[in-house]
Symmetry: C2
Subunit: 119 residues, 2 copies
DNA sequence: GCGACTAGGTGCACTGTACATCTAGTCGCG
DNA sequence: CGCGACTAGATGTACAGTGCACCTAGTCGC
Protein backbone atom coordinates (compact mmCIF):
# COMPACT_ATOMS: atom_id res chain seq x y z
CA UNK A 1 0.00 0.00 0.00
CA UNK A 2 2.20 2.80 -1.19
CA UNK A 3 1.06 6.24 -0.11
CA UNK A 4 3.16 8.52 -2.23
CA UNK A 5 3.30 12.19 -1.39
CA UNK A 6 0.12 13.73 -2.76
CA UNK A 7 -1.13 10.30 -3.71
CA UNK A 8 -4.79 9.62 -3.94
CA UNK A 9 -4.76 5.83 -4.18
CA UNK A 10 -7.29 5.61 -6.94
CA UNK A 11 -8.26 1.98 -6.63
CA UNK A 12 -9.74 0.32 -9.65
CA UNK A 13 -12.49 -0.88 -7.34
CA UNK A 14 -15.06 1.42 -5.87
CA UNK A 15 -14.90 2.80 -2.41
CA UNK A 16 -16.68 4.89 0.13
CA UNK A 17 -17.03 8.50 -1.01
CA UNK A 18 -14.68 11.08 0.45
CA UNK A 19 -17.46 12.56 2.51
CA UNK A 20 -16.99 9.62 4.90
CA UNK A 21 -13.49 10.80 5.79
CA UNK A 22 -14.48 12.30 9.09
CA UNK A 23 -16.57 9.41 10.49
CA UNK A 24 -14.17 6.77 9.23
CA UNK A 25 -11.17 8.59 10.65
CA UNK A 26 -12.80 8.75 14.07
CA UNK A 27 -13.88 5.11 13.92
CA UNK A 28 -10.46 3.74 12.97
CA UNK A 29 -8.93 5.86 15.70
CA UNK A 30 -11.25 3.94 18.00
CA UNK A 31 -9.19 0.85 17.19
CA UNK A 32 -6.27 2.39 19.01
CA UNK A 33 -4.04 5.47 18.94
CA UNK A 34 -1.96 5.98 15.86
CA UNK A 35 -0.22 8.49 13.65
CA UNK A 36 -1.61 9.94 10.43
CA UNK A 37 0.44 7.90 8.04
CA UNK A 38 -0.76 4.62 9.48
CA UNK A 39 -4.30 5.87 9.87
CA UNK A 40 -4.34 6.28 6.11
CA UNK A 41 -3.66 2.58 5.75
CA UNK A 42 -6.38 1.67 8.23
CA UNK A 43 -8.87 3.91 6.48
CA UNK A 44 -8.01 2.41 3.15
CA UNK A 45 -8.58 -1.05 4.61
CA UNK A 46 -11.85 0.19 6.02
CA UNK A 47 -13.04 0.82 2.51
CA UNK A 48 -12.38 4.47 1.90
CA UNK A 49 -11.76 4.98 -1.78
CA UNK A 50 -9.57 8.02 -1.95
CA UNK A 51 -7.19 8.54 0.90
CA UNK A 52 -5.45 11.88 0.69
CA UNK A 53 -2.76 12.24 3.34
CA UNK A 54 -3.04 16.01 3.29
CA UNK A 55 -6.75 15.76 3.95
CA UNK A 56 -6.19 13.40 6.85
CA UNK A 57 -3.63 15.66 8.52
CA UNK A 58 -5.96 18.59 8.12
CA UNK A 59 -8.93 16.66 9.47
CA UNK A 60 -6.88 15.54 12.47
CA UNK A 61 -6.12 19.17 13.29
CA UNK A 62 -9.82 19.98 12.98
CA UNK A 63 -10.78 17.13 15.28
CA UNK A 64 -8.15 18.27 17.75
CA UNK A 65 -9.61 21.78 17.77
CA UNK A 66 -12.97 20.17 18.49
CA UNK A 67 -11.44 18.18 21.35
CA UNK A 68 -12.34 14.83 19.86
CA UNK A 69 -8.69 13.96 19.41
CA UNK A 70 -5.53 14.60 21.38
CA UNK A 71 -2.02 14.21 20.00
CA UNK A 72 1.56 14.10 21.13
CA UNK A 73 4.87 13.82 19.37
CA UNK A 74 6.78 10.60 19.60
CA UNK A 75 10.31 10.12 18.32
CA UNK A 76 10.37 7.11 16.05
CA UNK A 77 14.14 6.56 15.81
CA UNK A 78 13.32 5.35 12.36
CA UNK A 79 12.45 8.46 10.43
CA UNK A 80 10.97 11.77 11.44
CA UNK A 81 9.03 12.05 14.70
CA UNK A 82 5.43 10.91 14.57
CA UNK A 83 2.41 12.63 15.90
CA UNK A 84 0.37 10.03 17.72
CA UNK A 85 -3.36 10.69 17.96
CA UNK A 86 -5.75 9.40 20.58
CA UNK A 87 -9.50 9.70 20.91
CA UNK A 88 -10.61 11.82 23.83
CA UNK A 89 -13.67 10.80 25.81
CA UNK A 90 -15.80 13.02 23.60
CA UNK A 91 -14.09 11.43 20.61
CA UNK A 92 -14.96 7.93 21.78
CA UNK A 93 -18.57 8.98 22.15
CA UNK A 94 -18.45 10.46 18.67
CA UNK A 95 -17.04 7.18 17.35
CA UNK A 96 -20.09 5.32 18.64
CA UNK A 97 -22.36 7.89 17.03
CA UNK A 98 -20.52 7.58 13.76
CA UNK A 99 -20.79 3.82 13.73
CA UNK A 100 -24.52 4.23 14.26
CA UNK A 101 -24.54 6.72 11.43
CA UNK A 102 -22.83 4.30 9.05
CA UNK A 103 -25.24 1.60 10.09
CA UNK A 104 -28.16 3.91 9.33
CA UNK A 105 -26.73 4.74 5.95
CA UNK A 106 -26.37 1.06 5.17
CA UNK A 107 -29.95 0.36 6.19
CA UNK A 108 -31.21 3.27 4.13
CA UNK A 109 -29.29 1.99 1.13
CA UNK A 110 -30.75 -1.47 1.72
CA UNK A 111 -34.26 -0.12 1.64
CA UNK A 112 -33.60 2.28 -1.20
CA UNK A 113 -31.96 -0.35 -3.39
CA UNK A 114 -34.95 -2.64 -2.89
CA UNK A 115 -37.16 0.01 -4.45
CA UNK A 116 -35.02 0.21 -7.58
CA UNK A 117 -36.54 -1.86 -10.37
CA UNK A 118 -33.52 -2.22 -12.67
CA UNK A 119 -30.37 -4.17 -11.93
CA UNK B 1 -44.05 16.96 2.73
CA UNK B 2 -43.78 20.72 2.68
CA UNK B 3 -40.81 22.03 0.74
CA UNK B 4 -40.76 25.65 1.69
CA UNK B 5 -38.58 28.03 -0.22
CA UNK B 6 -35.04 27.45 0.96
CA UNK B 7 -36.20 24.54 3.04
CA UNK B 8 -33.81 21.82 4.00
CA UNK B 9 -36.18 19.23 5.42
CA UNK B 10 -34.04 18.36 8.37
CA UNK B 11 -35.63 15.12 9.42
CA UNK B 12 -35.20 14.02 12.96
CA UNK B 13 -34.11 10.67 11.57
CA UNK B 14 -30.84 10.18 9.79
CA UNK B 15 -30.46 10.12 6.09
CA UNK B 16 -28.06 9.66 3.26
CA UNK B 17 -25.36 12.35 3.23
CA UNK B 18 -25.72 15.21 0.77
CA UNK B 19 -22.89 13.81 -1.32
CA UNK B 20 -25.40 11.28 -2.67
CA UNK B 21 -27.43 14.03 -4.29
CA UNK B 22 -26.11 13.42 -7.76
CA UNK B 23 -26.50 9.62 -7.90
CA UNK B 24 -29.88 9.66 -6.16
CA UNK B 25 -31.19 12.37 -8.45
CA UNK B 26 -30.24 10.38 -11.51
CA UNK B 27 -31.69 7.18 -10.09
CA UNK B 28 -35.07 8.67 -9.15
CA UNK B 29 -35.23 10.27 -12.59
CA UNK B 30 -34.93 6.72 -13.88
CA UNK B 31 -38.37 6.09 -12.36
CA UNK B 32 -39.84 8.45 -14.91
CA UNK B 33 -39.61 12.06 -16.09
CA UNK B 34 -40.51 14.71 -13.60
CA UNK B 35 -39.99 18.28 -12.53
CA UNK B 36 -37.63 19.46 -9.81
CA UNK B 37 -40.19 20.08 -7.16
CA UNK B 38 -41.56 16.56 -7.33
CA UNK B 39 -38.10 15.06 -7.66
CA UNK B 40 -37.36 16.54 -4.25
CA UNK B 41 -40.19 14.45 -2.82
CA UNK B 42 -38.96 11.30 -4.54
CA UNK B 43 -35.43 11.87 -3.29
CA UNK B 44 -36.67 12.43 0.19
CA UNK B 45 -38.58 9.15 -0.03
CA UNK B 46 -35.45 7.50 -1.37
CA UNK B 47 -33.72 8.34 1.87
CA UNK B 48 -31.84 11.53 1.20
CA UNK B 49 -31.57 13.45 4.42
CA UNK B 50 -31.28 17.04 3.36
CA UNK B 51 -33.12 17.99 0.25
CA UNK B 52 -32.32 21.53 -0.78
CA UNK B 53 -34.47 22.64 -3.71
CA UNK B 54 -31.85 25.13 -4.82
CA UNK B 55 -29.25 22.38 -4.91
CA UNK B 56 -31.52 20.14 -6.96
CA UNK B 57 -32.22 22.81 -9.55
CA UNK B 58 -28.55 23.53 -9.80
CA UNK B 59 -27.65 19.86 -10.15
CA UNK B 60 -30.29 19.41 -12.85
CA UNK B 61 -28.66 22.19 -14.87
CA UNK B 62 -25.28 20.53 -14.40
CA UNK B 63 -26.62 17.16 -15.56
CA UNK B 64 -28.19 18.84 -18.55
CA UNK B 65 -24.86 20.39 -19.51
CA UNK B 66 -23.39 16.89 -19.28
CA UNK B 67 -26.15 15.55 -21.53
CA UNK B 68 -27.42 13.09 -18.94
CA UNK B 69 -30.71 14.93 -18.66
CA UNK B 70 -32.96 16.76 -21.12
CA UNK B 71 -35.73 19.14 -20.11
CA UNK B 72 -38.65 20.98 -21.56
CA UNK B 73 -41.16 23.46 -20.22
CA UNK B 74 -44.67 22.31 -19.64
CA UNK B 75 -47.55 24.62 -18.71
CA UNK B 76 -49.24 23.29 -15.64
CA UNK B 77 -52.47 25.37 -15.74
CA UNK B 78 -52.23 25.12 -12.00
CA UNK B 79 -49.36 27.40 -11.06
CA UNK B 80 -46.22 28.43 -12.87
CA UNK B 81 -44.93 26.31 -15.77
CA UNK B 82 -42.89 23.28 -14.85
CA UNK B 83 -39.63 22.15 -16.28
CA UNK B 84 -39.95 18.44 -16.92
CA UNK B 85 -36.71 16.48 -16.91
CA UNK B 86 -36.00 13.21 -18.67
CA UNK B 87 -32.97 10.95 -18.63
CA UNK B 88 -31.12 10.80 -21.92
CA UNK B 89 -29.65 7.52 -23.10
CA UNK B 90 -26.38 8.44 -21.46
CA UNK B 91 -28.33 9.35 -18.34
CA UNK B 92 -30.03 5.96 -18.24
CA UNK B 93 -26.63 4.30 -18.48
CA UNK B 94 -25.37 6.53 -15.70
CA UNK B 95 -28.36 5.52 -13.58
CA UNK B 96 -27.35 1.88 -13.85
CA UNK B 97 -23.80 2.77 -12.88
CA UNK B 98 -25.01 4.76 -9.92
CA UNK B 99 -27.18 1.94 -8.66
CA UNK B 100 -24.13 -0.29 -8.85
CA UNK B 101 -22.20 2.37 -6.98
CA UNK B 102 -24.76 2.51 -4.18
CA UNK B 103 -24.75 -1.27 -4.01
CA UNK B 104 -20.95 -1.23 -3.69
CA UNK B 105 -21.13 1.35 -0.93
CA UNK B 106 -23.64 -0.77 0.94
CA UNK B 107 -21.46 -3.84 0.62
CA UNK B 108 -18.41 -1.92 1.78
CA UNK B 109 -20.32 -0.66 4.78
CA UNK B 110 -21.46 -4.20 5.51
CA UNK B 111 -17.90 -5.45 5.58
CA UNK B 112 -16.57 -2.42 7.40
CA UNK B 113 -19.21 -2.54 10.11
CA UNK B 114 -18.44 -6.19 10.72
CA UNK B 115 -14.90 -5.23 11.60
CA UNK B 116 -16.02 -2.72 14.22
CA UNK B 117 -15.82 -4.26 17.68
CA UNK B 118 -18.08 -1.88 19.59
CA UNK B 119 -21.81 -1.49 19.14
C1' DG C 1 -56.12 43.70 -5.14
C1' DC C 2 -53.94 40.62 -2.02
C1' DG C 3 -52.12 36.61 0.24
C1' DA C 4 -51.13 31.67 -0.08
C1' DC C 5 -49.19 28.29 -2.69
C1' DT C 6 -46.39 26.25 -6.47
C1' DA C 7 -42.25 26.25 -9.23
C1' DG C 8 -37.97 27.71 -10.57
C1' DG C 9 -33.94 30.45 -10.10
C1' DT C 10 -29.68 33.63 -8.49
C1' DG C 11 -26.01 35.59 -5.25
C1' DC C 12 -22.82 35.00 -1.92
C1' DA C 13 -20.15 33.36 1.64
C1' DC C 14 -18.29 29.38 3.59
C1' DT C 15 -16.30 24.70 3.58
C1' DG C 16 -14.06 20.78 1.64
C1' DT C 17 -10.79 18.90 -1.09
C1' DA C 18 -7.11 17.76 -4.89
C1' DC C 19 -2.77 18.53 -6.09
C1' DA C 20 1.64 20.46 -5.83
C1' DT C 21 5.12 21.67 -2.99
C1' DC C 22 7.99 22.07 1.29
C1' DT C 23 10.48 20.61 5.61
C1' DA C 24 12.89 17.38 8.06
C1' DG C 25 14.25 13.03 10.09
C1' DT C 26 16.74 8.03 9.27
C1' DC C 27 19.12 4.62 6.60
C1' DG C 28 21.95 2.45 3.18
C1' DC C 29 25.46 2.88 -0.18
C1' DG C 30 29.50 4.17 -2.91
C1' DC D 1 31.16 12.26 3.62
C1' DG D 2 27.44 13.19 0.07
C1' DC D 3 23.34 11.68 -1.86
C1' DG D 4 19.04 9.47 -2.84
C1' DA D 5 15.14 6.76 -1.05
C1' DC D 6 11.83 6.53 2.23
C1' DT D 7 8.87 8.09 6.13
C1' DA D 8 6.12 11.63 8.32
C1' DG D 9 3.85 15.80 8.62
C1' DA D 10 2.35 20.25 6.91
C1' DT D 11 1.03 24.37 3.98
C1' DG D 12 -0.77 27.12 -0.25
C1' DT D 13 -3.88 27.61 -3.53
C1' DA D 14 -7.47 27.16 -6.73
C1' DC D 15 -11.75 25.22 -7.46
C1' DA D 16 -16.25 22.67 -6.57
C1' DG D 17 -20.13 21.88 -3.63
C1' DT D 18 -23.57 23.65 -0.50
C1' DG D 19 -26.57 26.30 2.82
C1' DC D 20 -29.17 30.07 3.23
C1' DA D 21 -31.37 34.21 1.93
C1' DC D 22 -33.64 36.23 -1.49
C1' DC D 23 -36.08 37.01 -6.06
C1' DT D 24 -39.44 36.15 -10.05
C1' DA D 25 -43.64 34.66 -11.73
C1' DG D 26 -47.73 31.81 -12.43
C1' DT D 27 -52.78 30.22 -10.39
C1' DC D 28 -56.50 30.32 -7.13
C1' DG D 29 -59.70 31.89 -3.60
C1' DC D 30 -61.44 35.68 -1.12
Amino acid sequence: MPFGRGTTTTMTEVGLPRSFLRPVLIIVLGNGPSHGYELAVRMWEFGLATVDLAGIYRMLRVLEREDLVASEWEPSGHGPPRRVHTLTEAGAAAAIDHVAFLRDVRNLLDRALDSVPST
